[in-house]
């Protein structure tokens, strides 16, 4: 009996991983060598160069901005990927079939997020390594950065669930993730430190993914303890994930109703 249960669970895990891999191939439209290189490697590196140069131009030093823009690169990949993993169903005219299927849409969206979390980690790490070489500086050790990045992409995945929900409803595929990226640029404490934000935006910033990872980065650079902000970040990520689950549930219902009403 126990063996059968384990086998069933193993089958379920394999099916989930297979579904994740197929969704990545089917719905992530940049899945070709040049497209991948362009969107997941070249773009974040280019952005990171621009922002790190901005920091050095104003005499702030490369370290913090290099880490921040690399973390943002990872987060951006997660947000875009998760939005495309749902929104492209509309592009391929398969949204109806998906919504009509008995598959649990929340589970499916989480499953589809998996490759993008891995992707975000790879992109964020590449950005950090390439920019460190370009600016000939390694602000924090690679394992430390990797750990921060891992936390960052996980908590962004929670936020990404909400963006995926939005993609179920918006006809324009890129408006949602592009807006989300701009919001992250301004409010996540990465490119704009919290103390430089207008006062009314600070509470919003503290609720955004990455903001507490950036607190940890600041502590790490100042050689202070950085564990507590990471715990807070995970709590924020969990809260976003729970909100995302509710949003996906509501959005899937709304999208099904819209389809059923013929107004999608």
């Amino acid at each position: 009996m126990q063996t059968r249960t384990t086998a069933t669970e193993g089958g379920a895990v394999r099916a989930a991983l297979r579904g994740a891999a197929l969704s990545y191939r089917a719905l992530f439209t940049w899945f070709n060598p040049l497209g991948y290189l362009s969107s997941r490697i070249v773009r974040p590196i280019g952005m990171a160069i621009a922002f790190t140069s901005l920091a050095t131009h104003y005499g702030a030093g490369a370290g913090r901005m290099l880490i921040a823009s690399s973390l943002l690169a990872g987060a951006g990949a997660v947000v875009y990927g998760m939005a495309l993993a749902v929104g492209n169903e509309r592009s391929f005219d398969t949204l109806g079939v998906w919504l009509a299927s008995p598959q649990n849409k929340i589970a499916a969206t989480c499953q589809r997020a998996l490759p993008h979390v891995v992707d975000g980690f790879v992109g964020g790490l590449c950005t950090y390594l390439v920019c460190s070489l370009l600016y000939t500086t390694l602000p924090i050790s690679i394992p430390a950065y990797a750990a921060l990045l891992a936390v960052g992409v996980l908590t962004t995945a929670g936020f990404g669930l909400s963006i995926a929900a939005l993609a179920l409803l918006l006809k324009d595929l890129f408006v949602g993730p592009n807006t989300a990226e701009l919001v992250l640029m301004v409010l996540s404490g990465t490119l704009v430190p919290q103390d430089r934000l207008p006062g009314f935006l600070v509470p919003l910033s503290t609720a955004m993914p990455l903001s507490h990872v950036m607190d940890a980065v600041d502590n790490l650079l100042a050689e202070r303890a950085y564990g507590a902000p990471l715990v807070t970040e995970l709590v924020i990520g969990t809260a976003w994930a729970l909100a995302g689950v509710v949003f996906v549930h509501l959005a899937a219902r709304r999208a099904t109703a819209r389809l059923a009403l013929g107004t999608s």
Partner: protein, 315 residues
Amino acid sequence: MTLTDGGLEARGLVREFTAKDGSVRRAVDGVNLVVRPGELVSVLGPNGAGKTTTVKMLTGLLLPTAGEVLIDGHDVVRSRRRAAMACGFSLGGDTGLYPRLTALQNLEFFGLMYGLRGSRLARRAGELLEEVDLADRSGDLVGSFSRGMKQRLHLARALLHEPSVLILDEPSAGLDPQSAAAMRALVARLTGEGRSILLTTHDMREAEELSSRVVLMKGGRIHVESTAGELRLNAAGRLGHVVSVVFSTAEVPDGIKDCPGAMNIEQDGSAVTLRVSDGAAAVQWVLAAFPGLTTSVAVTPPTLEEVFLDMVAAS
């Protein structure tokens, strides 16, 4: 066993659309349909008759303004999941598949949506690719497929979870004659397996060849429902019969013009085609008027296409 066990039933289906100016257009107006296991019902109608809207309501993709649809006894609105598991549908066309996945991967991905997995999914996908004659292209990207191949893959996708009810929207649209014939053969085989199949089509030959019953829709309503044969026979009184005669003489005798009830006469060498109000009487008259001069005489009721065109023209 109730009427809809393993079958499809639609009762009083109505669908209205509200335009931007607030006006309401009724696209489907009180449609009642039953498709029993082993039956194939064809829905015919001119563009705008409400066929696709009806199909979308039957599949649960579109909510009816009024009425209900039962698939294998499950209401498509209230028991959506159960109805979805009993229903396979194909809306056909060039889209609706993932172009960057291979045919096999497409079936795997859609299969996962319907709860299939592991070896069962792999086996089922393999079987279906064989069935729709795409096994040798299973590893090719769907983006490179022709329209006909995509239509067949749509059908395979619809069959993945072994539904008892199958709804096909113009499955042979845009196919070359060879592919269309193969598609018809496949659909006929599926009907033979005991599935309840509803298909919409503009191809009268397809409807006539495959259907247990034919439904003619017009203006969102079912205009007439019967077997293709009955429809043709019933229309014969109005449209007349076609009598084809081949004479053994070099030319058609002049006297053929005197055939009673002849509405139209077309000559081609020694053959003549007459449209007459009473086919049997015309045959008797030909045989009596030209004894020993005929090689063959045949009488046929109007074609389904003629019946259809007559119905559309009547509107």
